[in-house]
């Protein structure tokens, strides 16, 4: 290393023209640690919290191994204290006018600006990242985030009328994160009036410094509280009754997968290697290195991956001026990985790039969408048409055309599939921390007794419930799957009783097999429906509304038989038709173009369908809820599998007859049967891309649990009935927000 070598003289350098060290002084970071006697606790309610009798872990310089400080590990009672402080602060903070909150966020931005040097040296010192990256990228963006969200807070009363802050937000950070990831989440939360408790992994001083900067503003000390502790405290934080929402935040950017068209493979690889050879690695606090180190763990991970790839016959290219000892790892290009190798599936670690060839753009799209991750991707092509087609086709949260890694506070960033389904930045980020006014706060509905293994597993047998009354023996309603009615796989029916307890009719008893068929049919219909213009979607929804109105008499009488007053039944049918028309109209206006500072060219904020959406409808408002959910989902381009109300499915099934005639086959599939059983089938199904559940608290809990396995976005009502006839709910913006996914498509331009 440079330190052990004798320093070359100017005369020697004149000949070699080598780069020298450009050390960035980190004296201020050390001085800050000294103010805490190198003993960091937690920052709660504007004060340092250093409880006694706690375990502690050392915070080390990842490169020299020098011990920088000791960090206390929190225990459950520290988390409780932090949540309490945040709860108290929430009362004042959320009651403030938006303008005052904006003022406060701007003061924090100023504070960061004043202490930016401390911030970037501390971050670089502790994480080993290149100081240039933190100084030129993260710190300005952190300020920009605060400024953008200050503006959002200022206009909150006007733009976000009808929404209120959720309350205390719990934020759990992964072991390798950058403080910027934390800023992406706390800024919108604070802007809309929430307060935050952040659980950071042990030995991460930067969030503590940020909390101190926020705390030293004086006025609202408890809005940002930082607890450092092990990951096992996550469930403790999540189960605190005061915490309204928990968000996770993943690791900083890992390795990359590169798909290169065969026709330019050689040329691209050559250029890539040439460029990689000029990368410089070294101590993060050197101003002239391209990449720092990320600690011994990251090094070992990369080494293991590269070793395995090599043993499987891959070509490994390593280059760059990088020190050869442990925490440093050279930039590595892996190619010719055999398709069957486990490395092809595994996540690529930093700083490794895996390149593989493809023949056609279609093939590239299939490969790229075949991975379980979906955060971001970049497309490099000089052919605009091709680049745009790929950009639209990629199932990721952010696509850059001919650029990579651009971020801006105004542009929502998120992901899909395993990369999560929450958003930060832009308007989408704000809604993450808001709920429609008047909705009850999250209650602790979590039940320890729910047996996930058996929930909805067995279907109670259905027996004849006679005696049948009516003009003729009622034929059982079939299942609407793939455009026509069919008998259930189980070949049995379930009786539906009316308000008086008399038999109203039989509906099919659907099961796992029918769900599979319905999901399959929905998948087949998806490409056709996505390809429809919003106008065409609107036309279909309007046609359905007309058909519904034609059936008004029948639907009203069905509803009446289930105990709805005639007047209310009429209103319900009328509202249902209105919902279909309203969503048809809304389908036309989606997405918009953002103009971002510092970027020449637009950023398109696209609203893309979720894909195959499963909806379990509530028992209340059996027709209106069914139609509202259906209309919102269809308007946004989803194909759906619906489970109608359990107690009163018949009005919905009546409408199915029109849908079978009007809509493309497979667009809407309706399965009746035991709700718990069907919910179980849908929640555990790997190809259902999103699930909305309106039903019991237990069912909600199960759905949330099951979706943790396949990370599908879910929306549950936690057993709270909704007022579907009110604009804020049934037709409200939340439904629209949930029915589509945002994608940011960056289009830098210039010739």
């Amino acid at each position: 290393m440079a330190a052990t070598r004798t320093k070359p003289s100017a005369r020697e350098i004149f000949t070699t023209l080598e780069y020298g060290p450009v050390p960035e002084s980190h004296a201020c970071a050390l001085a800050w640690l000294d103010t805490q006697d190198r003993h960091l606790g937690h920052y709660v309610n504007g004060k340092w919290l250093k409880p006694e009798h706690r375990n502690s872990v050392p915070c080390q310089d990842p490169i020299t191994g020098e011990r920088l400080a000791i960090c206390l590990q929190a225990q459950a009672e520290d988390v409780v204290a932090a949540v309490e402080a945040a709860g108290t602060a929430f009362e004042n903070w959320s009651g403030l006018p938006g303008a005052s909150r904006a003022q406060h966020l701007l003061r924090l931005a100023k504070m960061i600006q004043k202490h930016q040097r401390l911030l970037w040296t501390l971050e670089s010192l502790v994480t080993g990242r290149a100081v240039r990256e933190v100084r030129d990228g993260d710190v300005p963006l952190a300020q920009q985030l605060l400024q953008y969200h200050a503006v959002q807070a200022y206009t909150q009363e006007e733009v976000l009328a009808g929404w209120e802050p959720m309350g205390v937000i719990g934020l759990i950070l992964s072991p390798t994160f950058s403080f910027l990831e934390m800023m992406w989440r706390i800024c919108p939360a604070l802007a809309v009036g929430c307060t935050v408790v952040v659980l950071v992994p042990p030995a991460s001083p930067t969030p503590l410094l940020l909390a101190q900067l926020a705390g030293e503003l004086g006025s609202f000390p408890g809005i940002l509280n930082v607890i450092s502790g092990p990951a096992s405290l996550g469930p403790v934080l999540a189960s605190q009754p005061g915490v309204q929402k928990v968000t996770f935040c993943g690791a900083i950017e890992g390795g990359l997968r590169l798909l290169i068209q065969e026709s330019v493979w050689d040329e691209t690889m050559r250029r890539l290697q040439e460029r990689m050879a000029r990368l410089r690695g070294g101590r993060g606090l050197d101003g002239a290195v391209d990449m720092g180190a990320r600690g011994a763990a990251a090094h070992d991970l990369a080494q293991r991956y590269v070793r395995e790839a090599r043993s499987q016959g891959a070509q490994v290219f390593q280059a760059g001026a990088v020190p050869s000892d442990s925490p440093f790892f050279p930039p590595t290009l892996v190619s010719d990985l055999p398709p069957a190798s486990p490395c092809t599936q595994a996540e690529v670690p930093w700083p490794v790039v895996v390149a593989s060839p493809f023949r056609t753009a279609k093939e590239a799209l299939a490969v790229a969408n075949g991975t379980p991750r979906g955060a971001s991707a970049s497309v490099w092509s000089e052919r605009l048409g091709q680049a745009l087609e790929l950009g639209y086709g990629l199932r990721v949260g952010t696509v850059w055309i001919n650029a990579h890694g651009l971020r801006n506070a105004e542009v929502p960033t998120g992901g899909c599939k395993e990369s999560g389904s929450s958003w930060s930045g832009g308007p989408d980020g704000l809604y993450e921390y808001l709920r429609p006014s008047g909705t009850p706060a999250r209650l602790s509905y979590f039940s320890e007794n729910l047996n996930y293994g058996t929930f909805g597993l067995a279907v109670p047998s259905t027996l004849p419930a006679g005696p049948e009354i009516g003009p003729s023996p009622a034929t059982p309603y079939g299942l609407l799957i793939g455009g026509h009615f069919q008998a259930p796989g189980a070949r049995s029916s379930r009786p539906i009783q009316d308000a008086q307890g008399n038999l109203h009719g039989y509906v099919a008893e659907g099961g796992a097999k029918d769900i599979r068929g319905a999901v399959e049919a929905a998948h087949q219909a998806a490409p056709g429906w996505v390809g429809q213009s919003p106008g065409a979607r609107a036309t279909l929804l309007w046609a359905l509304a007309t058909a519904l109105e034609r059936r008004e008499a029948a639907l009203t009488s069905r509803l009446e038989r289930h105990g709805t007053e005639l007047k209310d039944a009429k209103v319900e049918v009328e509202l249902s038709a209105r919902q279909l028309r309203a969503w048809g109209a809304r389908a036309q206006a989606q997405g918009h173009v953002l103009q971002v500072a510092g970027l020449k060219g637009p950023v398109l904020r696209l609203r893309e369908p979720l894909g195959v959406l499963a909806i379990v409808c509530p028992d209340e408002w059996p027709l209106l809820a069914f139609v509202s959910l259906l209309a919102a989902a269809l308007a946004h381009g989803n194909t759906v599998v619906l489970v109608p109300s359990g107690a009163c499915p018949i009005p919905a099934l009546e409408l199915c007859q029109d849908m079978a005639a009007l809509l493309p086959a497979g667009l809407v599939n309706v399965v009746t049967g035991d709700r718990d059983h069907l919910t179980r089938c849908l929640a555990l199904h790997q190809d259902v891309q999103a699930l909305w559940y309106f039903g019991s608290a237990q069912g909600s809990q199960f759905v949330e649990w099951a979706s943790a396995g396949n990370l599908k976005p879910v929306w549950v009502n936690r057993g709270c009935p909704w007022a579907w006839d009110q604009e804020a709910k049934g037709a409200g913006r939340e439904l629209g927000l949930r029915a589509a996914r945002t994608k940011a498509l960056w289009l830098p331009m210039g010739d």
Binding site: I13, T15, M749
Partner: protein
């Protein structure tokens, strides 16, 4: 390291037949180039010994230039003297560089002043090459016949490097064959002299055109491609340089021939010159960092480099000890600004430091030279 004083190697000029397929599919991605240009300036800095050494190295790449209407033999003489002794002897001594025979790479003048320059350099007993601009500099809007004659006359007068400007009309109208033919004729007219082709990138319209023009110029046998005349509104910029350097690299990969690169126009500060050095180092590698393959066209850059070498903490340590030995008091601004860059110095101090450093220049000369740049 061969002495920079060595006779510039007059290799037989390389040229190849025109191959339009090398440029026809080419498309430069401007946003990506801009981003790279932005990054590269922030990513590489050198300090202390490294800075001093790099700055001195930059001196050896300079084509010390004067291109103004009022050039006379006296200021050409001064220019040549400065080319021979670019940095104060005492500064070189403090860095132990006084025996390296440090000179600039060449002097660059108008054709009519070539005789003066050759005479002055001969009188000073050094072999610094004389470069001459030619072919209707800076606009290139004269007849081909007179442009070719201009080259021949300059070569006759003793110029060993000719900086020609291309005909922008041919680029903007896409007449690549005609452009190739013209540069071929320039090449022939140069004979043994080196041909540096000025692309006047500020007037080419797009980066794609810059790439194509670079490729044509190299195919036609240029020894160097040069960004601009210094007389356009947009001169040497990083994005343009990246495109030209990539073209040079592509040409090298395709033919195995190394073509040189010369940014010119608007490079005034020592800091800029360091950025240019690291740009070439990053894009093409160390083998391009020799006066045979890299030049910086500049008129006022040298004085800033000298000032920066003087401000380098390394020189300071030694110079201040000289001050102390002579029982001279360190001026207050020197104490305050030792750790800072020269831009922190009050303006009047900068000026006086410059005048002290250039006793051979008269005040009027200096201001004029500054304006010309």
């Amino acid at each position: 390291m061969p002495s920079v004083l060595a006779e510039p190697s007059l290799l037989p000029a390389f040229s190849k037949a025109l191959d339009l397929s090398w440029i026809s599919k080419m498309q430069v991605n401007q946003p990506a180039v801009l981003r790279r240009a932005q990054q590269i300036q922030a990513r590489r800095t050198v300090k202390k010994e490294w800075q001093a050494a790099w700055l001195l190295k930059a001196v050896t790449f300079i084509d010390l230039t004067t291109l103004s209407g009022d050039d006379t033999s006296s200021n050409i003489q001064r220019l040549c003297y400065k080319a021979k002794y670019p940095i104060r002897e005492d500064l070189l001594k403090t860095l132990n560089m006084h025996d390296k025979g440090l000179t600039t790479a060449a002097v660059c003048v108008y054709p009519a002043r070539v005789c003066d320059a050759v005479r002055a350099l001969k009188a000073a007993g050094c072999t610094i090459p004389v470069a001459s601009v030619a072919t209707g500099f800076p606009a290139g809007q004269t007849h081909l016949k007179t442009r070719l004659e201009e080259i021949r006359l300059a070569v006759e007068d003793g110029a060993t490097e000719i900086d020609v400007v291309i005909n922008r009309t041919l680029v903007l109208t896409g007449q690549w064959e005609a452009l190739y033919d013209e540069i071929r004729q320039f090449r022939k007219a140069c004979g043994e002299a080196h041909l540096k082709t000025i692309l006047a990138t500020g007037e080419l319209g797009s980066l794609t055109n810059v790439y194509k023009a670079s490729m044509i110029a190299m195919m036609a046998g240029s020894d160097f491609i040069k960004t601009s005349t210094g007389k356009e509104t947009v001169n040497a910029t990083f994005p343009v340089a990246i495109v030209m350097l990539r073209a040079i690299r592509d040409f090298f990969w395709k033919t195995g021939n190394k073509v040189g690169f010369k940014p010119a126009g608007g490079i005034r500060s020592a800091k800029d010159s360091l950025a240019w050095l690291s740009l070439v180092k990053e894009e093409l590698g160390d083998e391009w960092l020799t006066p045979d393959l890299f030049r910086i066209g500049a008129s006022t850059l040298l004085s800033d480099i000298e000032r920066q070498v003087c401000n380098n903490p390394l020189s300071w340590d030694k110079l201040t000890s000289v001050f102390l030995r002579k029982k001279r008091k360190i001026p207050y601004w020197a104490m305050r600004t030792r750790e800072k860059t020269s831009s922190d110095l009050p303006h009047c101090t900068q000026t006086s430091a410059f005048i002290q450093a250039n006793p051979h220049l008269k005040w009027a000369d200096w201001t004029r030279e500054r304006e010309c740049a």
